[in-house]
């Protein structure tokens, strides 16, 4: 049944009429017109749809819009801007990480939460936090370099 929801996304409030079971992803993409996040699997298996919900990395493809309440949603676009980039975004550019780039949300949004919560994580901690996310182009080596670089920038 269609209901009215208010979403707080990247600091702005939006109203969306949607089925209560509709995943947040479709509200962000289709109702709000955000080009990120992406649909990758719809199964919480890859990370292409990753956003922060009250700071927690969340698969928006399986999170019902009705479960959001008044939580604050941050997408990749809300994490940083060219004028004020997040260290991970700077590091991603420095390391020239992406190939196709469709997987970026998963890695950056998950790593951003890790680096916020954990000062100077070890390589094992970084890998553990990122385990399960997918990159099909095989940019894994550069992803790890970029996260380590960002950790140094933040440390």
């Amino acid at each position: 049944m269609t209901q009215r929801f208010t979403l707080n996304v990247n600091g702005k409030s939006h109203t969306v009429n949607a089925d209560q079971d509709m995943p947040l992803l479709y509200a962000l993409r289709d109702d709000l017109g955000l080009n990120n996040p992406h649909f990758g699997c719809g199964l919480a298996q890859c990370g292409a749809c990753m956003v922060h919900v009250d700071g927690k990395p969340t698969y928006s493809c399986v999170t019902a819009i009705s479960a959001i309440g008044d939580a604050k949603i941050t997408t990749l676009a809300g994490l940083g801007t060219p004028e004020k980039p997040h260290p991970l975004q700077t590091a991603y550019i420095e390391e020239q990480v992406p190939q196709c780039g469709y997987c970026i949300n998963g890695w950056i949004m998950t790593a951003a939460a890790l680096l916020r919560d954990k000062e100077k994580p070890t390589e094992a901690e970084i890998k553990d936090a990122l385990s399960g996310l997918k990159c099909r182009c095989g940019t894994h080596v550069s992803i790890l370099k970029a996260v380590k670089r960002a950790a140094e920038m933040m440390g």
């Binding site: 699997c41 801007t81 190939q99 940019t139 080596v141 790890l144």
Partner: protein
């Protein structure tokens, strides 16, 4: 606005007829009328026709002095856009930043073959280099006429043509390119070889620069599309939206080959805007909202025709291949008298290797948007080959090719003939049926389950040895499903699910390949055999091109077998290879990798390890269309779990002249990691009915926790040798390098991919 956005109204011919004959006399003073003729002949206000024999089809100098290049290939994430801009800036003598490369739009580029066979630079760059060189030549001639200075007394710096005095010092006199042609199009005929696609070549009269003069080519210039990606600013094909568009989803049968026998449209009547599009085996839905389209596809009640389950049990796949009738056999290389040599052998070594079906499993399912307006079709697609897709959509809809425009937009990953072309044609059928623009994205199970697959195969190798241990004969035959079971571009409905589901027969053709190496055995035969597809229409196991088509499987087998021969004669694997390899550049990459990895000469397997955790090293090498790669893998193995960590790679890579070393290194890193994934994990699973690997749990790929600790790349630059490809060659020897390292560590030879923990554990026990 750049020039490509303008409409053309006049033909080149009409201008030439008005301008009269062109006579250019370099070195003499040029009369005014000749100068005006030159201007008219080389530059005109209307765009000449978009044909391969026109310079304007590749390059334009805009009114602001910027340069637009129109490229009939596209960048799949390896930085090709940067490399092409470097080549053009180099030949035109303009700053790199001034060049913008437009890619894969059928409205402003000619068919250069799309992203295909690692030819972006090898073929595409070659053509763009010749076009830019010709543009420079023409601009200098125009400047010569304007300045009344012979062309050979002019130099170009940052797009400014200046005269030099006899002391070779720059004069102050200078004309900018934009002053020469900035509001007009090039009107220059090229010498086109009459080929379209990868083979297209259309040089002008100009000779490109001597590579020793290159200043921009060879520089590690960064990609400009990375920042927009990390700030969520770049549009992917999934992000294109059009007014009035609806969302589509497709429905595939539960048993491959089945078609709907009854569709109950009332089952989705409560879903807003839901419409069903059913035509024979083609079944899709649209709805105004994407989530509603997904719901409609799930809720639609469909009865399917009764068909025989088309596939063998997966456990019998390799027996099926072994026993299948050969549809085509081709001996690609043969020298000496193989059969005689085997008869006189003192020892014969034989082995057989197996490679499964593998999926493109792109990061996101394919997506396309098709809009039909006044008979004109526009398709936004992540295809690798937009010009072929243009033909395929025209044929699918039964309209002239000229009425279709395909615009390539970055898709969710692309490694060959993926589901992108199928998606665009499906979207076209939906858009025509519902009369609205349709954005179609497949679901995950369709992306991994229904994409064209990399073919499964077996590979038989045998070698004859004489009493001294010399290899006297070598016989290698691959047998498998065809790489062209489903055509490698979307130009024909027979190759597209939209065609096959609506009654067009699959036009399965035969192709495989042989090892690309330079082992000089006295008697040698390299052959391949193809077998018929398991299902002759709309099959989730139809086979086509997946990154380095058939290269990984062939070289897994051939380079594993070379290692087996080295072990058979108790010789170091590199020493053994160098005994027979004759190509100097092949020898150089192997030696470079060995030196960088500090390879210790000894035989495999190691004999100094005991316990649960063991390590090993292995080498493999391959050529690919001019490129040579040698890879040394160092692996750690946990014998109790069977888990392999491909810990370190040393890659020596020679692709002739290097355009951008940083882009090249990143491209190689991706090849290695994807190669590790395909070697250790990837295998399409299926039952009698259909493909059962349909997501990331059932089709696992390499996890970040399994990332190699090091990928060390040694780039061998040959500025004097025309560049060859890099998009695929380095994935080719990865599996064999790992297999050889596993043998070195354990003494056990694994001849079937993937090396999943279960398989390795049972092989070691």
């Amino acid at each position: 606005m750049t020039k490509f956005e303008k409409n053309s109204a006049f033909t080149r011919r009409s201008v030439l007829l008005g301008g009269g004959a062109l006579v250019v006399s370099v070195g003499a003073a040029i009369p005014l009328d000749t100068m005006l003729t030159l201007q008219a002949a080389y530059a005109q206000g209307a765009k000449p026709p978009l044909t391969p024999d026109q310079l304007s089809s590749y390059i334009a100098v805009n009114a602001d002095g910027s340069v637009s290049a129109f490229f009939g290939k596209m960048d799949m994430g390896h930085g090709l856009r940067v490399a092409i801009a470097q080549i053009i800036a180099e030949e035109l003598d303009v700053p790199f930043k001034r060049v913008k490369v437009f890619m894969g739009d059928t409205a402003n580029s000619v068919n250069q073959g799309g992203a295909s066979g690692s030819t972006g630079i090898q073929n595409g760059g070659k053509q763009m280099r010749m076009a830019a060189a010709e543009a420079r030549r023409v601009l200098v001639e125009m400047a010569a006429a304007r300045l009344s200075v012979p062309a050979d007394k002019l130099i170009v710096t940052d797009g400014i043509v200046s005269a030099i005095d006899t002391d070779r010092k720059m004069a102050t006199l200078g004309l900018e390119y934009k002053e020469l042609i900035g509001d007009k199009y090039f009107n220059v005929q090229l010498d086109w070889n009459k080929h379209y696609g990868n083979a297209l070549y259309a040089p002008g009269k100009a000779q490109p620069k001597d590579p020793r003069q290159h200043k921009i080519v060879g520089q590690p210039i960064k990609r400009e599309d990375v920042a927009p990606k990390v700030f969520a600013q770049e549009d992917f094909v999934t992000d294109i939206r059009r007014p009035g568009m609806v969302h589509g989803r497709m429905i595939r049968p539960p048993i491959a080959g089945a078609v709907p026998s009854n569709v109950d449209e009332s089952s989705v009547k409560d879903i807003p805007g839901a419409k069903v599009v059913w035509d024979k085996g083609f079944l899709g839905v649209v709805a105004d909202k994407e989530w509603d389209a997904i719901q409609a596809a799930q809720k639609l009640k469909v009865e399917w025709s009764q068909v025989e389950s088309p596939f063998p049990e997966q456990a019998s796949l390799y027996d099926h291949i072994r026993n299948a009738s050969v549809r085509k056999r081709t001996v690609e290389k043969e020298n000496g008298t193989i059969d005689d040599a085997f008869k006189s052998a003192v020892k014969v070594v034989e082995a057989e290797y197996e490679w499964p079906f593998q999926s493109h499993a792109t990061m996101g399912p394919a997506c396309a948007l098709v809009e039909i307006k006044d008979g004109q079709v526009t398709c936004w697609s992540g295809t690798q080959k937009s010009h072929y897709q243009q033909q395929g959509i025209a044929a699918t809809l039964g309209i002239p090719v000229e009425n279709v425009r395909v615009i390539w937009v970055t898709g969710p990953g692309s490694y060959g003939r993926s589901d992108a072309d199928d998606c665009a044609a499906d979207a076209a059928v939906l858009a025509k049926a519902v009369g609205k623009p349709v954005r179609l994205q497949y679901m995950r199970d369709q992306a991994t389950g229904w994409d064209p697959k990399g073919p499964a195969s077996i590979h038989k190798a045998r070698a004859a040895l004489d009493a001294s241990g010399k290899i006297t004969a070598y016989d290698f035959t691959s047998k498998g499903f065809s790489r062209w079971d489903c055509a490698t571009n979307g130009s024909k409905p027979s190759a597209l699910l939209a065609g096959q589901t609506r009654g067009v027969s699959l036009n399965s053709e035969d192709g495989f390949g042989v090892p690309a190496e330079s082992y000089a055995f006295d008697n040698k035969r390299l052959a391949w055999e193809t077998i018929p597809p398991l299902l002759d229409r709309a099959s989730p196991l139809r086979s086509s091109h997946l990154r380095d088509p058939v290269g990984p499987q062939i070289h897994f087998a051939s380079e594993s077998f070379i290692d087996e021969l080295a072990a058979a004669v108790t010789t170091d694997p590199i020493e053994f290879r160098l005994r027979y390899i004759k190509e100097p550049r092949d020898i150089a990459v192997i030696k470079a990798a060995a030196e960088k990895a500090r390879w210790q000469t000894r035989t495999s397997p190691r004999r100094d390890q005991s316990g649960n955790k063991v390590s090993g090293r292995g080498i493999a090498y391959a050529q690919r269309n001019g490129t040579r790669v040698a890879i040394i893998a160092e692996v750690d193995i946990d014998r109790s779990t069977g888990k392999i960590w491909a810990r370190k790679f040393t890659v020596a890579h020679d692709c002739g002249q290097i355009i951008n070393p940083d882009g090249l290194t990143k491209c190689i890193e991706g090849n290695i990691v994807q190669g590790v994934s395909r070697t250790l994990w990837e295998e399409v699973t299926f039952d009698r009915k259909t493909v059962t690997s349909v997501d990331w749990l059932t089709y696992p790929i390499l996890d970040i926790t399994e990332t190699p600790a090091e990928v060390n790349v040694v780039l061998i630059n040959h500025p004097e040798i025309a560049p060859s490809g890099a998009g695929e060659p380095s994935i080719r020897p990865v599996a064999a390098a790992i297999a050889n390292a596993v043998f070195d560590a354990t003494g056990v030879r694994i001849r079937r991919v993937p090396f999943s923990p279960d398989r390795v554990r049972s092989a070691l026990s």
